[in-house]
Assembly symmetry: C2
Homo-oligomer: 147 residues x 2
């Protein structure tokens, strides 16, 4: 999760909402990603999506078996859905997203047993470090907006 926070920090230096994701398999980092929505003007450019696609390319299969995802923020519906489609067995995430969190806050994507795949969901890991980064980012954004 420390590496995922580093990805979030890098996103912030680009003016992006600081969210990062790292995928690990057999104790090694398989792929990483950070939010690039503004830079790419792409609504799908979330940290998890880059990491999932890179991991699938690295493994040569869309099934990310044995992979653990570390994400600094609760995944949204798109990203939680992508983690389900990729059959990721374990998702460790930081703070909740009250406005879009889709694993625990608003929906149960990844945990709802009607889905053809569910993952272990571990929330709250380095949550304060992640939430602090998001708070600082939005405070700076508001401060700049007032100038």
């Amino acid at each position: 999760m420390t590496l995922a926070l580093a990805e979030a920090d890098y996103a912030a230096t680009l003016g992006e909402v600081p969210v990062g994701c790292v995928l690990v398999k057999d104790g090694a980092v398989l792929a990483r990603g950070h939010n690039l929505r503004e830079s790419n003007q792409d609504p799908t450019a979330h940290a998890e999506m880059f990491a999932i696609r890179a991991a699938a390319a690295a493994l040569g299969t869309f099934r990310l078996e044995g992979v653990t995802a570390y994400v600094t923020l609760e995944p949204c519906a798109m990203c939680a859905g992508a983690l389900v489609l990729a059959r990721v067995p374990r998702v460790v995430w930081g703070c909740r997203d009250p406005k879009g969190g889709a694993v625990a806050t608003m929906f149960g994507i990844g945990t709802d047993r009607r889905l053809n795949h569910v993952f272990e969901s571990h929330e709250g890991v380095l949550a304060e470090a992640s939430a602090g980064r998001l708070r600082a980012f939005f405070e700076a954004l508001r401060a700049r907006g007032k100038k």
Copy 2:
């Protein structure tokens, strides 16, 4: 929707589950996509995702205002979430997906008013044509599996 069905038909010729998507703005086709999960071994390679990214690139913004999405199958959580993130105002779709549909069947992604964006959802358009293609595809797959 006829164009979206043509995209689904093209996917089937590639051995892909036949799902297609077309995005329209001001009466003109802005982008189209079809399922490519097997060909690309990419869990995120759904029809809607290609169309959304192409449309954002064409418009130069992640906000797909004034766009109508036509999809042959009820979007999954990932794709419905991406349509929300892209602020697509209107989604017209064909048949329901009992195993993964996330707009109406399992979740209300795109219609749940707790989200920061909702879209108009119009279901059932050329639904039998879409469902028929899916049935034929899976029947052929099973028949091949038995040989």
